[in-house]
Each structure stands twice: as C-alpha cells, then as structure tokens.
C-alpha cells in the first residue's frame, strides 16, 4: 500500500478547499493518507484535517517562522518527511506552486504540475498550452511530487474520521526571505474558486465604478466576482480576481462573462464551467464559441435589466 503526504493550506481553523481537492486526488491514487499542517497556532486546522474520513494521521509543525508559509522555511520540513512517502501532493494554488518545486529540486524529482486526472499509480493528465492540449505523462521518479488542479477533483468533506494529530519537529528560520507584510483583499461574497456561480467583468466594463454593475448582479445571484486580465490591469479590481491561464481556475455551475472577449488565456481558467453565459456587444467575440447562452447586447443596458428581472 502506498503512502501519500498531502501538504495542507489552511486559515488556522480549517483546510482550504484546494487542499480538500488534493485529498480527493490522494484518495483516487489510493493509499495511506497523512496530512502535513505547518503554521503558527493552527491546532484547529489540524483537528479539521483529522476529522476527514480516510486520513491516517495529521502531522503538525508549528512555529513563528512558519506563520507566513515562507517557502524557505516550509520546504525543508516536507523534504525531511518525503522519504517516508511514495507521493507528496499539494493544491496547485499560489502556495503550492511556490513551495513544491523547491522540495522537488532538493529531492531530485521532476514535479508533475497541475494534474487534472489520475490514470494509474504513475500516470497523470495535465493541461498544457493554457489547456489547449492535454498531456498524459508517466513519472519515473521514486517519489512523485504532484500539484493538483482543484477544479478537477471534488473537494472531500470533513467528518467521519478520527485521525491522530502528531506534533513534529518544525525546524528553524532559514534566515533567507523575510516576510514584510500582506495586503489581502477582503471580499464579502463567496470565494472565487469555490463559488457555484461566478460573474466576471472584462475591459468592456470600462471603469472601477462601473464594476458596481458586476457586483450588483453577483450579489443577486449570490455569486463570486471575477475578472479578465485586462480589467485587472486597468485597475478596475485587485489582482486576485483574475481568472485564466495565469490567474485562478474556476469551474462553477454558472459562469457569466460580461464585456470579456474570450482570449485563449481567459478561457483557460473558466471553460470547465458547467454553464457559460456571455454578454458582449460584439456578436463575433470568441467568447460566444464557448458560451451555452450568448446575449449580444450592450452591458450597460443588459445588466440593469437583468438586475430588475431577477428582483421581480
């Protein structure tokens, strides 16, 4: 039976949904699943992990130097544990992408990034070229280091498990990168990568003020707000709203693209959505090729109308 270590991301109390998807991927691979939690004062997150069915044990490394998940401090912990495992998994979030290759290089392993499917114990599918091609790759390394595309694996739910939590050696500050600060955006609505409905705005929205229209519709639908790169670059919304090849990957039940042309790089982040709606005044916009329902209209007319219709 193989042994799988999942590096967890958390908010001190709960595991993040990307990690819950990585655990789902671990279940598909099959084997004993241990969860590694690193941080400072994150015992609750460890308890959350322990309550997940099928988890064998939770390893908890705590210390001030781990508070901000600086890669230089976290990677050595994973590296030290990895020898006991056949697989080390993490979500392909900015956190997982930052830390895992650092571990892989130390272990002399070629990481497999952003897998969307498990074919067999050593063979996986991953998107390349912004998802315009799907590569099936077989890893020949003894330990498999993998980041997991969260939208491709349905997050596991907590409950039904009672794994033990074991405190482990947490190492010390590597003295390399010094955390200066964070500027995290506070959005009130649901989280972009897990929301069942996402309403995204593009360059067509025209200004930060006009983004109110997107937010208002999102509010009515209890949806998260996303954006194209052009909208972020123009300063309409913060960077963490960006959906696409180089932003976030989302796959909600409903994705509404407003004033977005549908560039390859944007589609890479939303084309797995179940239902796609496009609202664009240009009937030739490529987004319509991906849309289940396309409305050729000026968004400044269509959005207020939609708002009103949803009220009634």
């Amino acid at each position: 039976m193989s042994a799988i270590l999942v590096y967890a991301e958390h908010d001190h109390t709960e595991l993040k949904s990307g990690t819950l998807s990585a655990i789902a991927c671990a279940r598909e691979i099959g084997g004993d699943i241990d969860i590694l939690i690193t941080g400072n004062n994150c015992g609750d997150a460890a308890q959350h992990a322990a309550s997940i069915e099928g988890v064998r044990k939770v390893l908890l490394a705590e210390g001030e130097h781990l508070e901000n998940h600086v890669a230089e401090n976290v990677a050595p912990i994973i590296e030290r544990l990895a020898g006991d495992y056949d697989y080390v998994l993490a979500a392909a979030t900015t956190g997982g992408k930052n830390i895992m290759p650092r571990v892989a290089a130390k272990l002399d392993v070629q990481q497999v990034s952003d897998i969307s499917k498990v074919i067999s114990e050593d063979t996986f599918v991953r998107p390349i070229y912004a998802g315009n091609a799907m590569a099936t790759v077989q890893s020949t390394d003894a330990i498999k280091l993998i980041t997991v595309r969260a939208t491709s694996f349905e997050a596991v739910e907590a409950g039904g498990g009672s794994a033990s939590v074991e405190s482990i050696e947490s190492g010390s500050d590597a003295g390399l990168a010094r955390f200066v600060g964070a500027d995290l955006s506070e959005s009130e609505g649901p989280e972009l990568t897990t929301a069942p409905i996402v309403v995204s705005g593009g360059r067509g929205v025209g200004s930060a003020e006009n983004f109110q229209l997107i937010e208002s519709l999102a509010g009515k639908l209890d949806a998260a707000v996303g954006a194209s790169r052009a909208a972020v670059d123009a300063g309409y919304v913060p960077n963490d709203y960006q959906v696409g090849q180089t932003g976030k990957v989302v796959a909600p039940d409903l994705y509404v693209a407003v004033g977005i042309s549908g560039a390859i790089q944007h589609m890479a982040g939303m084309k797995e959505s179940r239902v796609i709606v496009a609202i664009n005044k240009d009937s030739e916009a490529p987004i319509f090729e991906a849309a289940d329902y396309g409305l050729v209209a000026d968004l400044f007319e269509a959005l207020p109308e939609l708002d009103k219709a949803l009220d009634g």
Partner: protein, 250 residues
Amino acid sequence: MKVLVPVKRVVDAYVKVRVKSDGSGVETNNIKMSMNPFDEIAVEQAVRLREAGTATEVVAVTIGPQQAQEQLRTALAMGVDRAMHIEADAGVEPLAVAKILSAVCDQESPDLVLLGKQAIDDDSNQTGQMLAALRGWPQGTSISKLEPGDGTVTVTREVDGGLESLELPMPAIATVDLRLNEPRYPKLPNIMKAKKKPIEQSTTADLGVDITPRLKQVKVEEPPARAGGVKVSSVDELIDKLRNEAKVIQ
C-alpha cells in the same frame, strides 16, 4: 549588481495550438515562435535596473535548439549586455533547466536571477523555485513589484488572497508576473545592432548536466470540446433558459 535572465523560446501566446494527429505533441512547424511573455517582462525589468544604474550587467541565457538564438537576439535588442545559448533539444524539463542554470550561476555569479513565473507551453511554474532550492537562495515568485535595497531586493508577490511582500537578501531568485511592467518594443536600430552581437555558445554536456527526462510523455490530446451553444435574444429569454433549461438559478 549582476542580473541573469533565463528566456525560453515558446509558441507565440496568440497562436491557437493544434495537437498533432499522432498524439505525439503539438504542431510547432511553421508556427510563430516568440520569447515566453513572462521572460520578456523579466528582460524588461533587468534592463530597467541597468538603465537606473542599479544593475551593472545583464546576461540573458536560453536553453534550446539553434533557433532559440532568435529570442536571444530579441533580448539583445531590448538592451541586455550579453547572451548565452546552451544548445539542447526543445523540451528540457524544468528540473534539468534549473540544474543547467545553476551551473551557469557557478560561472557567472549573478546577484539576481529573474525568470518568468511560468513557460506558457508546459505551464509548469517550477524552474525558478527549483533553481533557488539548488542554490540555497531565497525566492520571490509571481512578483508584480521589485525594489532594490542595500544588498537586498524587496518584492511584491501576487498570491491567491491578494498581495504579499518579502525582503530577499541577494543573491536571490525572483519569478515575474504580468503586471510587473510593460515590455518595450525594441527599436529598429537596436534590432540591427543586436544581429551583430556575439552569442556565447555551449552545450549541456559542457556544463556536465544530465538532461535525461524523468517524465515520459505518453500522449497529447485535444481537450474535450464544448458543445455549441445558442444565442438568446433578450434578457428575459436568458433568465428563462437559466431557470428552466439549465436550472442553474432559482
């Protein structure tokens, strides 16, 4: 400070790639190739550091086939001082690229290595972090801001929740994101001059790095296609479809 910028030759970002019918990869014959867009941003940043007098020398390096020299010419036209070509077939994996770059660091002793956050062909997002690990250097990934300090650089990273900043003692590695800067278009005289500049050449064997792949590419396929949709003629029709056909809203 000396800056090293690794640049990769990739299929141009605006080409819609086609998968070869035998499943062996994507079609790259007669397809427009360019410098990885993130690497252009890294080159731009390095050149700006030199223009500001912060950097004393900027060296671009590529690992790839003979034609990858075209991308080095672009880097030279944008203003890098020197260009190095390490010849290898296309498709060297990130771990091997990182090992080669580490060998280049042994020779060149850069204070800062600026890479792209990801290559838009393999979408791996690994090389910079791997290089940092191999050298035991600090890393700042996906940066949208870089401020040089005294023996340090302070970088702002784009992370899932927003932004975060780190201070990195040099030598350090940073991987750049799209919003760091807007790369320049090289001017014609600079393009002409770049054609005449020397390119320093070597091979992976010269550097003593084993580039045997660790991943076997079993096959490459088209992604599942989406079934074509319909156009609706009004907001009311849209809401009706979403409620009663797709059943995604109440």
